[in-house]
Symmetry: C2
Subunit: 401 residues, 2 copies
């Protein structure tokens, strides 16, 4: 009844994202320890060590009953054709769970509360996890220039043509250009919202959001009906960073939100990419700031440059040798565990592999498909085996796609 | 008679730069070992281990007598109002001697033959060394765009206003824009030519070259009358890299000469700076290539960015902490030796300091002026002493100008 994925688990997670803002460290930890239903009980009973969180929850509770709100959100979701996706679901995008390890050195709450999502509200038919598996985020200024829009079109269209999902935030300017170019290329696009998926913001992009719901995905951590409060965009940005194989910033004003997104991308060891522009353009000042501030941010000028960073191999392995340690860092942890657990010779069953790698069978099967596509493992009739490339030490695996 | 700086030394150096292309490793080594006059004798006698050099010299000798050519070059120089500057002269730009340690990993001769100049032919009244002490090179595409010209104007004018010498190669496009903007700001500009200073190339920039000769410096390693042969520009580039405190590339086509200059700048541990541009511009492709290829190349957008890299302190000390080892790397070697040789307390005479640092007195005196200007040492009546900042370990010295 209270198992992960059960009705109680779902309702509790739905209630929790209304009760406290997503990403809250104390809430997430409690859910990990006690499960969502018990966590909800304890939070509603005021059994919270964090005083700030306790008073926030009591203020929220004064406005309504969390369980009733969750039920109402479920009803609104059904009306909007949306579903709730929780970690126990097959379509859960596993990559966002890497937020569990994200630590950003800063006194600000928004940099402390960067834990993984408890659930996603999803509008659209595509399966969430597989759609995000080969995805790139393209984000940037709302007040974009013709140059920025042009470059965004080129990148989004090119990535979509090559089968990549383009993720963005649905805002005016660069975000909308990225979504629209992907739609134009008949590609998959995912809009990560900071409000309910039943009322995507900004409303003037409604026609675009309708198309995305039709052919892509509108997703949000906030329940239907939730408003796009200002601070929610900053909370949302960690999902854009964590759900994708890499993030491209196209245009950004000085000291803009792009800096915050980029700090998360790089802290997650994902490729953080920046498009330069004329030094005379105010809308490129933020991009140049990023490239000057973060030595690991990569300047990109084309679809080819982006693919070099996040390409099929690059998704798990560093494409260019920038030092062996770095290559290991960027290797997806679960894939690395699986590769290491595989015998140098002969085959192994997925079950034995899961045991050896200390991972869940489902996780192993999911990763194996991708490792196979990357040419690192082979499925034979007797089981899984390493290919010659898969058997190389990590530092040598970046050779060619 | 044969001492460094003597008439024989000068004439031999003049002859040597006609006999073999400047930068030749074997020639330079021979001059260091035997002195220029003896080196010339041995080369003319065919006493050369390098077969390639031997045949080049014999081909050259067939075209004329090296000593007669040198005498004629001297005459042409006098006619053109030019002088010969050799390492023994007070105005020798010491920074170019760091080329002695330059090693670039490549099979190409032009990357092997990067030894220091044997001499400079100089047109203009300014003293060569002091003029280059606070200098920045601005180089780039001949086929520059309006954007590149605009940015070059801003940078060169701004640097000149702040008392920096702007060095370039005298070519069309970015080079000419850099020289002209510096002249417009009444600044000092140095054009490093790949031909004789009596016939600067390209001729369509003659009016500009005349102004530079009047108010700045035209310099060349090749004797008067020498033609601007294609390969000489690549040989010349090492001087632009080595003579300046840093180099800015403004616009560059794909795989252009700017890449070669930048490789020398970075191999010399000098700030290598690159101005980004629209990714849609062919003239910025080379700039973006540089920024992607060289992790130590710095993106710059303004005079302030350039000064951050090469500013009065930055000229010898790393302005921003990018790791302590790196800061030590960029510290000018002679200055570092002098700082380390200074007592923690009390004063020392320049003579004792020279002995302790194992440097020539002249070198010590030259560096002390700059260390004093940088606020790292103080000259008192009893001798030289460290300032509180000069006494800090290198990694902590980058605080403020």
């Amino acid at each position: 009844m209270n198992e992960p994925g059960s009705h109680a688990d779902r309702m509790a997670r739905a209630a929790l994202t209304w009760l406290a803002e997503p990403g809250n460290r104390a809430v997430w930890t409690l859910v990990q320890q006690a499960g969502a239903p018990a966590a909800l009980d304890r939070l509603l009973a005021g059994d919270v060590p964090d005083r700030w969180l306790r008073s926030a929850i009591s203020a929220r509770s004064a406005a309504g009953d969390a369980r009733e709100v969750a039920a109402e959100a479920m009803r609104l979701a059904e009306e909007a054709g949306a579903r709730l996706v929780v970690p126990a679901d097959a379509e859960w995008p596993a990559r966002v769970d890497t937020l569990a390890a994200l630590e950003i050195d800063s006194g600000m709450r928004v940099n402390r509360d960067t834990r993984p999502p408890l659930c996603f509200w999803v509008r659209g038919d595509l399966p969430l996890g597989p759609t995000l598996e080969r995805s790139v985020a393209i984000v940037g200024a709302r007040a974009s220039t013709g140059y920025g829009t042009h470059v965004t079109n080129e990148l989004a269209y090119g990535l979509a043509e090559r089968g990549w999902t383009v993720v963005s935030g649905g805002a005016y300017g660069i975000d909308a250009a990225a979504h629209r170019a992907t739609l134009a290329a008949n590609g998959a696009t995912v809009s990560v919202l900071a409000c309910g998926v039943d009322r995507p913001y900004p409303v003037t992009n409604s026609e675009m959001f309708a198309q995305i719901a039709e052919r892509g995905l509108l997703i949000s951590e906030w329940p239907p009906g939730a408003e796009p409060l200002r601070h929610r965009f900053l909370i949302r940005n960690r999902v854009i960073a964590a759900a994708t194989a890499g993030t491209v910033v196209v245009e950004a004003a000085a000291r803009s939100g792009a800096t915050q997104t980029m700090s998360r991308v790089l802290a997650l060891n994902r490729p953080g990419m920046v498009v330069p522009g004329p030094v005379t353009s105010a809308m490129s000042v933020g991009c140049h700031e990023l490239l000057r501030k973060y030595p690991t941010a990569r300047l990109v000028t084309s679809v080819a440059d982006v693919l070099e960073e996040v390409g099929l191999i690059g998704e798990y392995l560093e494409p260019e040798p920038r030092g062996r340690e770095h290559a290991r860092d960027r290797l997806d942890e679960q894939s690395a565990l699986i590769l290491e657990a595989l015998p140098r010779r002969g085959t192994v069953t997925p079950e034995d592999l899961a045991a050896a790698a200390r991972l869940e069978l489902r996780t192993v099967l999911r990763r194996l498909s991708l490792l196979e596509a990357a040419g690192l493992v082979l499925r034979t009739e007797t089981g899984i085996m390493l290919t010659p490339r898969g058997g190389q030490p990590p530092g040598n695996r970046h050779s060619n796609g």
